[in-house]
Symmetry: C2
Subunit: 223 residues, 2 copies
DNA sequence: TACATTTTTGACTATTCGGTATCAAATACT
DNA sequence: AGTATTTGATACCGAATAGTCAAAAATGTA
């Protein structure tokens, strides 16, 4: 049973996708309603009728981004799960996440969208809005938190497998990797990293996970 | 011999400082000329006469930020040098840089400005502008590059002192630390980190510098 | 005092912004 | 055919935007 009324001329899924990419590329403030009308093909009235306003449209685009990057499953609302991902060694998964953050499209993560803007919409939005908009900040934090928790499960898995030292803490490691990913996203937005740079950075990051923390620099906490 | 003409009512150094802080807090697009007039105390005409326009004012504020954070010396145009800094062990300096990026004011770095906005203007600008504005992107890159080079000298120093493994590469390590600092700045802008989080992250970062890279994960480069 | 110089002051402009209202066109249902 | 419903299309709004201009006021100098 189809719904009545004049049929939309443009596919709304695609329209939201284009809007998301525009926000991703240009940021919120640099994206005007006119830009959104152009890149989506929707008309102004339709956007306001179906979403409410620019801010709400942005929130919808943010949601789309998070779903699209599979930080949460659109159906089950569960943490990221990929069949290919679960078969890989956990530290190899971490490596793919890092490479992905640095700008390398990853089949393993199911993130193969050619011509995607550099960087990350979550990172960009975190920087652009900070804590000024409650709803937006909250969604960013939960999105990053979901990723962090997933990194935790990977690192816990690696820990039980003995691939990381017994004294290492997966929670700390996960936050460390998440922070590093944010940095990679910032650098990627400024200039695409070379494969050599990426290889070196990834190697150093993985090394920090799989070497014992031991004696080093206990004087770091003497203040 | 004073210069003729009506004397300015507000100190221009302080005005530029306030403008910088406003750009730092709110970003470029979210800062209107009216905001700048309010926070600087200067009048619109004066800003346009003395700087040229909003963009040029921003560039001046960016320059001020870089000078203020001592990434380059305002007189000699040389790399960062602080007497207190050169007396510290290099890895301890790295630690202060990391803590500073995470939001901890540091006397050692001469960066004790209370009530500074969270995060980093370079990071924010890199994210907001990306590569859209040539001049701005260039200044951001040179600013970050100066910091990176300084981190390199610290890590080279640590290397010759034997505080890092013989097989480690200071250039790679410096870029790694710089990237991590960007990530810390993003996270700091979203939410201030707890001292525990900072301690853990810093410890993990320093550990990655001072442990041998050895056997680990040679399969990272098999593709 | 008269003049040059510099900043203040406030009015002004053209454009763009997000948002609204209205009506026509296209479809489904009865 | 007629009606309800949904979207397309377009004109429009007040507010905010970056930027301009022309004086007036305040200083040093001759």
């Amino acid at each position: 049973m189809k719904k009545p009324g004049r049929p939309p001329t443009v596919n709304r899924n695609n329209a939201l996708e284009q809007a998301m990419r525009h926000f991703w590329q240009e940021g919120y403030e640099r994206t005007s309603m006119e830009d959104l009308v152009t890149c989506t093909g929707m008309h102004k009235g339709s956007i306001y009728r179906e979403f409410g306003g620019k801010r709400e449209f942005f929130l919808a685009a943010l949601e789309r981004y998070i779903q699209r990057q599979s930080f949460t499953d659109s159906q089950t609302q569960q943490t990221i799960k990929s069949t290919a991902l679960s078969t890989l060694p956990p530290l190899k998964c971490i490596e793919f996440f890092l490479r992905f953050a640095a700008g390398v499209p990853s089949e393993e993560l199911g993130a193969v969208h050619p011509e995607d803007p550099p960087g990350c919409l979550l990172t960009n939005t975190a920087v652009e809005f900070g804590n000024t908009d409650k709803d937006i900040a909250e969604r960013i934090e939960t999105g990053l938190s979901t990723l962090r928790v997933f990194l935790e499960t990977l690192l816990t898995d690696a820990h039980t497998r003995g691939e990381t030292p017994s004294e290492s803490d997966p929670v700390t490691q996960a936050r460390f990797i998440l922070t590093l990913m944010q940095g990679l996203r910032v650098m990627a937005r400024l200039r695409p990293a070379t494969t050599e740079e990426i290889n070196h950075t990834v190697a150093l990051a993985l090394q920090s996970l799989s070497t014992p923390c031991s004696q080093v620099l206990s004087h770091s906490f003497d203040d």
